[in-house]
Symmetry: C2
Subunit: 552 residues, 2 copies
């Protein structure tokens, strides 16, 4: 109460504000105008805009003040670092809130994973609004480390503070009115969608399930239809999926308030290099979007969609979450304030927090030491081969005459000690002498290993240890290794160390596949996901996605 009274007094210059930004160019997302004025902050809240003075004046000298950015859909795990380290990467780039779906870690570590993510995100200058993963496991064919059925869904929604349900990937079950899936949706306020290419009556049906957003649009036409049917469309720019250029033509002055930005999956090196949402703003503007419309997509629109009150604008009563930038598109951010506290300056995070106790989510690789023999595989001209291609996650099922150009690939179940292994030949990676293994494999995150020979494959898998991570072996030697101790998905080390480790991994992979045009690590991480056509390698064997069955 006292605080509110003081805030009201500060707004009227009856008492001194804590901070006064003097001579600012304030970006107003309500009017699409830039206002030249001072901004007064009291106790973390914006008290007023106008003429203010006091002891703590910060003369920003004509710099722009922008509301901080909101990443409307991301998986923090994809950054390969913990929420704490993730915050240190994105906050200096102007992001102070993310809507995060922790479904990667949940597929590995279940409730322990949720708890770890929730605890890790506490007391950060980044507001992490978690959505409860809706599809764990992702498919009935998955061997995941956890299952969240409708009963557990209700339980977790009550036990923890989720904003709603994470991306509803299983649209097929929705369209078929599966009781189990529909049960999960009951009484949920916000449900995120995932509806690639869904259109017409199927889109209508999917929306009847109360789905609010979609981040899977790949064309302006698809985005326009989804907006017309009432969805918020999240324009995605991640490490792999980059849809901004294709979607921006769908944005009009009339519908702009229904568009948001998101990253979905973005690796730490890319975040470090180009930021996340600021990058979306800059790209949108370069494609002709009005800068303040772009900022609105990055701030106010997401705040409205996810009901983040007092966020997304620089206005009295709003949290003092402010970007100070030399230019209007946030390409030259000099300071970031979160609730009135300076939390980043000149691209450096000014906060720190110990990574939470991760003991409940480490040691998640439950396999015995493997012998090279298990990777041996007989070839005949009838053997179904997985053909991978550049710029797509889709594979083709082919047969070939001889083994020229083929690599060995295997998926090893790592959660439940089943010793399940699925194997197959893959064509298209152009692998030299060596192997690469990783514990990242959507969405169950078993071990996927690719190699030119069983010995190097065994070495790569064995060197992952009980913690998991990524290992690259060349000519019988471990060339690069990155431990991802947190559920085999995230490093427990500081981001600056992790980024170097990851760059080394990428270099080693390049050395291993010098002529490949395929993003090997990305492709590997999706090679076991049994919903992407045409043929996959799961821990149960080669999987024909068209027929939805294991190939005998």
């Amino acid at each position: 109460m006292r605080n509110l009274a003081m805030l009201i007094s500060a707004a009227q210059s009856k008492i001194e504000p804590d901070i006064i930004f003097k001579n600012a160019n304030v970006v107003n997302v309500f009017t699409n105008q830039v206002e030249k004025c001072d901004v007064a902050v009291y106790n973390g809240v914006i008290a007023g805009l106008g003429e203010y003075s006091g002891k703590n004046e910060i003369d920003v000298n004509g710099k722009y003040l922008l509301p901080t950015f909101i990443d409307s859909h991301c998986h923090i795990e994809s950054s390969l670092v913990s929420p704490v380290e993730y915050a240190k990467l994105v906050v200096p780039k102007g992001v102070t809130a993310v809507i995060a779906d922790p479904h990667e870690i949940t597929n590995v570590s279940g409730e322990n994973g949720l708890k770890f993510m929730i605890e890790s995100a506490k007391d950060l200058p980044l507001d992490v609004h978690y959505m409860l993963p809706s599809c764990v496991p992702a498919t009935p064919f998955d061997s995941a480390g956890a299952v969240i059925d409708s009963a557990l869904t209700k339980e977790y929604l009550e036990r923890y503070d989720f904003k709603g349900l994470g991306e509803l990937m299983d649209f097929v079950s929705v369209l078929n009115s599966s009781d189990e899936v529909l049960s999960k949706l009951e009484d949920v306020d916000i449900i995120d969608g995932h509806a690639p290419s869904i259109s017409g009556k199927e889109l209508c049906a999917y929306l009847c399930a109360n789905v609010k957003t979609d981040h899977e649009c790949t064309s302006a036409r698809e985005a326009a239809e989804k907006v017309a049917r009432g969805m918020y469309v999240q324009v995605r720019e991640g490490t792999s999926a980059k849809n901004l250029k294709d979607l921006i033509p769908a944005v009009t002055p009339h519908n702009v308030s229904r568009f948001l930005f998101c990253t979905d999956d973005k690796h730490l090196d890319d975040i470090l290099e180009e930021g996340t949402i600021s990058n979306c703003v800059q790209k949108a503007v370069s494609l002709g979007v009005d800068p303040i419309d772009a900022i609105k997509m990055a701030s106010l629109n997401a705040a409205q969609c996810y009901k983040l009150d007092k966020c997304g604008a620089i206005a009295p009563g709003y949290f003092a979450n402010i970007i100070v930038s030399e230019d209007i598109t946030a390409s030259k951010i000099t300071e970031v304030y979160k609730k009135g506290v300076l939390v980043a300056k000149n691209d450096k995070a000014l906060f720190d927090k110990q990574i939470e106790d991760s003991s409940a989510v480490t040691n998640t690789v439950h396999i015995d030491e493997v012998k090279p023999e298990i990777f041996e595989l007989e070839f005949s001209h009838n053997t179904p081969i997985v053909k991978v291609m550049p710029d797509t996650l889709v594979t083709q099922k082919i047969t070939v005459k001889d083994k020229e150009g083929l690599s060995l690939c295997a998926c090893l179940e790592r959660h439940n000690g089943t010793n399940n292994i699925g194997k197959g030949f893959v064509y298209g990676f152009g692998l030299k002498n060596g192997a690469v293994a990783q514990t990242i494999g959507h969405d169950s995150h078993n071990i996927t290993v690719l190699g030119s020979n069983p010995d190097d494959m065994a070495l790569a898998v064995n060197s992952l240890g009980n913690d998991g991570g990524i290992a690259v072996v060349i000519d019988g030697k471990v060339e690069a290794k990155m431990t991802l101790a947190i559920s085999g998905l995230m490093s427990d080390k500081p981001a600056d160390i992790s980024v170097n480790e990851y760059i080394n991994i990428k270099k080693a992979v390049e050395k291993l596949t010098p002529e490949s045009k395929i993003d090997t690590l990305m492709m590997l991480s999706f090679l076991s996901l049994c919903v992407i056509p045409e043929i996959r390698i799961s821990d149960k064997g080669l999987f024909d996605v068209t027929k939805m069955e294991v190939i005998k």
Copy 2:
């Protein structure tokens, strides 16, 4: 669950929808486009837009389908009829939701008034979202029938299902950080504002109190400033206050989503004649607003401001709240559907409901029979006179040489049996032989009586009885009378009877003041409100608003 499964099936034409609107021109508030398509409805919800067929097809033959309208701020009491009868008036005009502040009845009947309004609004095709009145009584000088302090505010917010706090009229106490007023605001999600002419730092301070809306703007400049500071501006067209023409110039393509429509106070005869929100749409369009922007202001924008999920658009999963109109501005509404049920056709309501038991809110006039002598008043050339003027509620404090043109006026406390009476001379009504008395007098709703002589005044007051209402006496005879049995504010009769009674009252008043350019009833109803300059007549005597004190 079953219903959701069926809805999803209906969307995909796997089962038949309940209703199919064929050949519609659907107004899409997300894209500002008109789509030619069918609309399928299942179990009160819109299942899909596209091509649909089935047994129950309604060929609308190119008519427009619009989302139904939302009156974003109103006092149902001002219509002079009960919520049930009010619904019958506005639903045929396309309104299926109102945000209503029942502060008139609450000032008279306290919690009983709230309960009556809440019960009355149940099971209507009009969703009445009540805000808890924040200022009862309106001022410390008021003699109201109830007091809602901060403790009761918290109690009622918990006990009843309010959307938030009603218009925070006491902005002075907010700006002065009154503990009692600020206590009321704690943990309230939506707070409606009331900030006439508040600007600059005072506006910022008012917004720090978490106020979300304002319906008191009278100029485009004022509206533009309030929108820029983050408020939703409610463009008002009522019986007396008509601000639309002045505010529309502030609406731009960039800020249109922050504008809503409202009536605030509109009498039943005006509603019957011109509707409420449909009238706003038509006026806005006539002033150059894009028709779909106007419809958005009347629907989606209000739904977003007040967090009315699944309302405000024609889209899959939204409630099937649909206006069928021959034209896009809803001037020729042929049908209104609420949750898929036809509730009005050709301007007639197709629903009925008994008015709730009103025994707890009748018999609210607690005064003894009055004698003419109590209205006698001595005149001298020093006596302060209340001067009323056309087209404004503001009065002037004047003195005059003789009694020529003066009328007698009095305010009688009617709630607590105090027999309080305040008296004064009024200049400007041009009253002939007679008197008019009413139990409507903002915001405490004591009895205000205006007359040319004490006898007619006594007759007028006495004929109000214990129920209250409006009585007009001419030449010693009751010329017209309207009983407002519900708290002395609303009729308990059907709207068609009430409207005739009210028209008779208006005719009688016209006969009583043939040359007056003043809206006598309206002026009388504000003559005791001690916050409008310059001089008022309260039950405690003449009141100097400038000095905020009773004139001795």
